[in-house]
């Protein structure tokens, strides 16, 4: 994927349906951060937002061939960048 970072660090609050993003930094000491890394959201991995629930949260992301629904507010252990 030819990916150009749009601008600097974002969080999961900034994601919209259809966006591509990459994990910049994952917190390994946070319980949520560690669990999500075990599920494949490791540093440097790219993912796509495939769905946003009708009420805005949770969102579904496609990472490493897996579609995972997560809550935005539980993903704040992650710093991400949004790709074009």
């Amino acid at each position: 994927m030819d990916s150009i970072p749009l601008n600097s660090t974002k969080t999961f609050w900034d994601l919209r349906a259809g966006m591509n993003a990459r994990v910049l930094k994952a917190c390994s000491d946070c319980p949520h951060g560690l669990r999500m890394q075990e599920l494949g959201l490791t540093q440097g991995v790219e993912f796509k937002v495939t769905k946003v629930a009708p009420l805005g949260d949770p969102i579904e992301i496609l990472v490493r061939g897996v579609r995972l629904c997560v809550r935005r507010k539980e993903m704040l252990d992650f710093e991400i960048e949004i790709l074009e």
Binding site: L39, L68, C69, V70
Partner: protein
């Protein structure tokens, strides 16, 4: 049998073992242990279905139990059957890499290969076996494809065990230290897996380091080795995870060849079912169909069961009529008690039919996805939706349905508030009191409104209860809410049938015994003491003059009712009811209502016939009967003031709405939480809330006159 959650493990387990499964609990915890004998060639082995895991690093109780089983701390598996889901191979291989480190012999079963092919991709099983170093069998559980090969592979590997051999690309400097430390530990007789040693070298808080605190020499070695390793350039905090995922990614690329990917059927369905507007509409539609079917189909079946037990009672009665005690014990105690259990079975079976159909088709996950925001606001999560909605029919299937929730704390919170939802057994009480006090004075609109308000009350009270529970009782770290939306598929009827069969059996076995026992206790309390002398005395005390205009027949009936109500009044239950009248007096209830409430603790629907007896109308009264309405309307306190005002009626309804008067629910909670602590807690908090609620209503009533 181990694997990720949703990897097709249960389907494969059912296909391999059939219906002779044993469901129990791991000692002291709420985690279910599901096992079954399996024929492998000439031997019979025990296959244990370990709860689904994403990682061996335990985050929850389920995971800790599963990890301990795999690591041989609680059970000693001879062979691991690792189930890998071909659609999510990369993440499944991450878990595999942790299993491989345990050095246990393994056989791999790959599921979902058919769905992968439908997406136009292919899995090279032979190449995968080569890369993992263990036998790999492709299976499709519900089509019974590959099962024979899997059995053969399992039998072969039980005789000649093979552990996985794969390298995850850890730097050679690290691996030499790991090997050296493993050897030192082996020399002093400690058999520790490479994974644990590697973990100890990378993390100072590793449990292995803690267990070595009596061996300063080794600890010093660990410390110096850790220092050397820390200088390696690529080692960061998530080093271990990243290496494993890099390996998993490589293997996945090597074994799966992608074809041209068309937009899948699942994506097209999801475009509608998770759509902003259509999705919510479809959701409401699906829920409507489910619950309408439960009401429609369970009703006649329940009537049938009630009829059957009434018929049985009538048949048995003449056989035991010679002994009045035995007659009452068998007919009113035993048969009525067993009938009271079996009557819940249709609801449970129908609900579990729908839950397993929705689960098997993939819609249950979508429902959780749609509802999560709404329930998250109340401190729950999307998966609580089905259990709570079911509880409006009956809390028992609701409590049992909470097992779809993997996070134990969220699950417990859901179980604890499920009985606050107004179940169908509360309806007779509402109908009786609204019919007697609200409708005649305030009209049909307020009658309907009261009925709605009573159903809404439980929901409203549940929100602060969850809030307090989450902050005070169920503290500690929560798992993040993670949900996968599996591809849509037709439910496997075999799994649907097995789910209904096991849930039904479990309910009858565990909840059933307790309910029957409690019904017998309440029967005994309301029957004894009773003697010929008492009977004669109560008959003599009947005031014939008050019924001067009655025919002989009416007189006999009235006398029988009078005797019955005197008997109940003087029974242990009645005495107890009068003894605790002062407790209920502050909320405006007299001894008759108090006794009715006490008698209703095992099952709240009992209150209507009990009130019938207590107000001298016999046990045949039901909520529609005008006599009982009238009797309650006209009942007075000894000083002549009205016993039940509209406020008392609302207070009584609030009491019933909030109180945990259902032995069956408590038994189901005991079964689901594997401890008496939570049912006891639930009983205490709900009874307190009920009392407070009724007290507040009574106070408002007094203030407004």
């Amino acid at each position: 049998m181990v694997g990720n959650p949703n990897c097709g493990k249960t389907s494969l387990f059912n296909a391999l073992t059939g219906s002779n499964q044993k469901v129990g609990n791991y000692p002291g915890v709420t985690v279910e242990r599901c096992s079954a004998p399996i024929q492998l060639g000439h031997t019979v082995a025990e296959l244990v279905d370990v709860p689904g895991l994403y990682s061996l690093a335990a985050n929850s109780e389920d995971e800790r139990v599963a990890a301990e089983v795999i690591q041989g701390k609680t059970e000693h598996p001879d062979l691991l059957l690792c189930v890998l889901d071909a659609l999510h191979l990369e993440r499944n291989l991450f878990f595999f890499s942790q299993l491989a480190d345990q050095g246990l012999p393994m056989v791999v079963a790959v599921t979902m290969g058919d769905l992968l092919e439908r997406r136009g991709s292919r899995l090279d099983t032979a190449r995968l076996a080569q890369l993992l170093g263990v036998e790999v069998v492709e299976v499709i559980g519900h089509k019974r494809h590959g099962l024979a090969e899997l059995r053969e592979a399992l039998a072969r590997n039980l005789e000649q065990p093979r552990a996985a051999s794969c390298e995850f690309g850890f730097p050679i400097e690290l691996e030499t230290k790991v090997a050296a430390l493993s050897e030192r530990l082996a020399r002093i007789g400690l058999d520790v897996s490479r994974a644990e040693v590697r973990h100890a070298l990378l993390n100072p808080e590793s449990p292995l380091v803690a267990s070595l605190k009596d061996l300063p020499e080794i600890l010093a070695y660990v410390a110096s080795a850790r220092e050397d390793v820390a200088h390696l350039p690529e080692i960061g905090p998530s080093f271990d995870l990243e290496k494993r995922y890099a390996w998993a990614g490589m293997v996945t690329k090597a074994v799966i060849s992608h074809g041209t990917a068309l937009p899948s059927r699942t994506d097209r369905i999801d475009a509608v079912l998770t759509h902003r507007v259509l999705g919510l509409a479809a959701f409401v539609g699906v829920m409507y169909v489910v619950f309408q079917s439960i009401y429609t189909f369970a009703g006649p079946l329940m009537e049938l069961i009630e009829g059957a037990f009434a018929w049985l009672g009538e048949r048995v009665q003449p056989l035991v009529a010679s002994h009045p005690v035995l007659e009452s014990l068998v007919v009113d105690g035993l048969i009525a008690g067993v009938g009271g259990v079996v009557v819940f079975l249709p609801q449970i079976l129908i609900l579990f039919f729908f839950i397993s159909v929705l689960e098997g088709s993939g819609y249950l996950a979508r429902a959780a996805f749609l509802m999560d925001r709404l329930l998250g606001w109340a401190g729950l999560n999307g998966r609580a939706f089905i259990p709570l909605l079911s509880s409006f029919a009956c809390a028992i299937p609701g409590v049992m349905a909470a097992r779809v929730m993997p996070d134990p704390k969220a699950r417990l919170a859901t179980i604890l508030i499920a009985p606050l939802m107004s179940c169908s057994a509360r309806l007779p009480v509402y109908v009786l009191l609204i019919g007697a006090f609200i409708e005649p004075q305030f009209g049909a609109f307020w009658a309907g409104f009261t009925l709605f308000a009573m159903h809404f009350l439980g929901l409203l009270v549940a929100i602060p209860v969850v809030f307090v529970l989450n902050r005070k009782v169920l503290r500690g770290t929560r798992l993040p809410f993670v949900l996968e939306l599996p591809p849509y598929q037709l439910p496997k009827w075999r799994d649907v049938w097995l789910a209904m069969y096991f849930r039904g059996k479990l309910f009858l076995k565990t909840a059933g015994t307790i309910i029957v026992a409690m019904s017998l206790v309440i029967w005994a309390l309301s029957y004894f003491p009773r003697s010929e002398a008492d009977l004669a005395r109560y008959e003599a005390s009947f005031d014939t003059a008050a019924h001067s205009k009655a025919t002989d027949e009416e007189l006999d009936a009235a006398r029988a009712q009078h005797v019955q109500s005197e008997l109940l009044r003087h029974s242990y239950l009645g005495r107890f009811g009068r003894a605790i009248e002062p407790v209920f007096a502050p909320i405006g209830f007299d001894w008759r209502i108090s006794t009715g409430i006490l008698a209703a603790f095992p099952a709240r629907e009992v209150v209507v016939p009990s009130l019938g007896i207590l107000f001298g109308l016999g046990g045949e009264a039901d909520e529609e009967s005008g006599d009982l309405r009238q009797a309650i309307q006209q009942a007075t306190w000894p000083d002549g003031s009205k016993l039940v005002t509209p406020y008392t009626a609302v207070g009584l309804m609030v009491f019933f709405a909030l109180c945990c008067q259902c032995m069956a629910t408590l038994a189901a909670v005991k079964r689901e939480t594997n401890s008496w602590k939570w049912p006891a807690f639930m009983f205490a908090y709900m009874t307190t809330l009920a009392y407070l609620g009724a007290w507040i209503v009574h106070m408002i009533g007094l203030a407004l006159g």
